[in-house]
Amino acid sequence: MGELTTIGFKPGRSKIHRLDPRTKQLLVMVLGVTCLKAGSIFLAVTSVVLFWLVHLTGLSFFQFIKEIRYFLAFLFCIFLVRAFSFDGDSYPVIVGGNAREAALICWRLLLVVLMGVLLVFTTRTGDIRASLIWFLKPLPLVNERLAATMVGLVVRLLPLVLYQAKETGEAMRARGIEKRKNRLVRLTRFTITLFRRVFSRADELAESMQARCYNEHRTLPALAFKRDDLVAAGICVLLVSAAALF
């Protein structure tokens, strides 16, 4: 259970760890939206900044790649679909303009995911929850505490689901599931077992929360904007302005 996944909070003292969670969430939102519209220069600068931040936080780059390998495979599929064209031929051909556009799309999505991972890696689930409550509070007809709790639970449960998937896969391989030729049967067996286990874990988690008097109106972590938050916001404004100009 120790090596649960990389995509989860890891305590640290880096600059990004110390930022207010509201600043981090705002930066992810603003930079994420800008990335989806921006050109290659902005993406290059943002990539450099993000990889520098990854280095600062101590997140292992190779571990990160390993954790998002399925997402990378998904991106590769997007690239293939967008880059190749039939254009009347019976076999697909790669088109220069399409390939460039496809690469840009994949680059943008990868950066958005990297920002999300950085946020989760450097922010406590409780802080993410408190910050969401702060953002959602002004919205009418939204139970901000309930919504934030839902998001917090997803962040909390996701690594457990991944861990459970790994355990289930190993247990099935130990009993020779690979010998079954039919992939659908393998997938069905795996999915049913995994879901049963995940629901049972979710039940246990809910019970242990209940046993410790869980309620929506709990003491929230103290949030405070500091000088570093101003600096981070300044860098973000510079990046977005650069995107608008170029």
Partner: protein, 258 residues
């Protein structure tokens, strides 16, 4: 908080005619009437499926009585389960399923945060609870990276931080190696010495029996024996419980730790 007084002992938990039936028709608890006094160290023993865990869950308000009653410090658990949870801290059998926080500190702080204490009080309670279970200095560690024994101690700290009057533990020694078992046992004895009321379920009496003041034996959802351990352990095999080695060798009850 009002607690009933019987024979000069303050009763913290009382059950009267408690029954529980699962949806498949299994009778998990059958007419259980018990009373636990303040400061008591009780072991509830029984084979698998005898109803031990179901009984504990009623004390904490995780299960509500279908018939009969459970009261904690005079307040019906059915009427106010939240009050029962404040008074009765429960440590689950699987420590992993009890981990909620991202770090050791966050996990212990979860309970006090639910009690809406202020930040200073929360910090104070977490520091004190971690000190009580020898986990000081691990505040920033991921709970998932702790050893089995440390996780169990963390689960105890999470409950202690809520300052409950009663500590109920479901099979606290399961899946632990010898040093971890010793460590948990020593901590339990320390907590009892400090005045905590402790109720432990187990099917393995060996480690704990010498330190308990009362032994309750359950079978098929019923309390079949209740009294001082020395008297209760005689012929205990018939209920699917292995008697301690020292009893088998005719040496009476011997402590597992000194």
């Amino acid at each position: 908080m009002r607690c009933s007084r019987l024979n000069n002992l303050v009763s913290v938990i009382e059950t009267k005619g408690l029954c529980c039936r699962f949806s498949d028709g299994t009778r998990a608890l059958d007419d259980v009437t018990l009373s636990f006094s303040e400061g008591e160290f009780t072991v509830v023993a029984g084979a698998n499926g005898s109803g031990k865990t179901t009984l504990l869950r009623h004390f904490n308000g995780l299960l509500l009585p279908q018939s009969g009653s459970v009261s904690v410090c005079g307040t019906s658990v059915k009427d106010d389960p939240f009050a029962a949870r404040r008074q009765v801290g429960m440590v689950f059998q699987d420590a992993d399923s009890q981990i909620i926080g991202d770090t050791v500190y966050d996990d212990v702080a979860f309970g006090p945060e639910n009690l809406r204490l202020n930040h200073d009080q929360i910090r104070q309670r977490v520091t004190s609870a971690l000190h009580d279970v020898n986990l000081t200095g691990r505040e920033d560690k991921s709970p998932h990276n702790l050893s089995g024994g440390e996780k169990r101690r963390l689960a105890i700290a999470g409950v202690l931080a809520m300052a409950p009057r009663v500590l109920v533990m479901d099979e606290p020694f399961s899946n632990l190696d010898y040093p971890a078992t010793r460590s948990i046992l020593e901590h339990l004895l320390k907590l009892h010495k400090a005045g905590h009321t402790i109720i432990i379920t187990t099917h393995d009496l060996e480690k704990i029996i010498a330190h308990a003041g009362r032994l309750i034996i359950m079978e098929n959802g019923r309390v079949v024996r209740d009294g001082e351990p020395e008297a209760m352990v005689v012929g205990i095999e018939r209920y699917g419980i292995r008697p301690p080695c020292s009893i088998q060798y005719g040496q009476g009850i011997k402590p597992w730790v000194n």
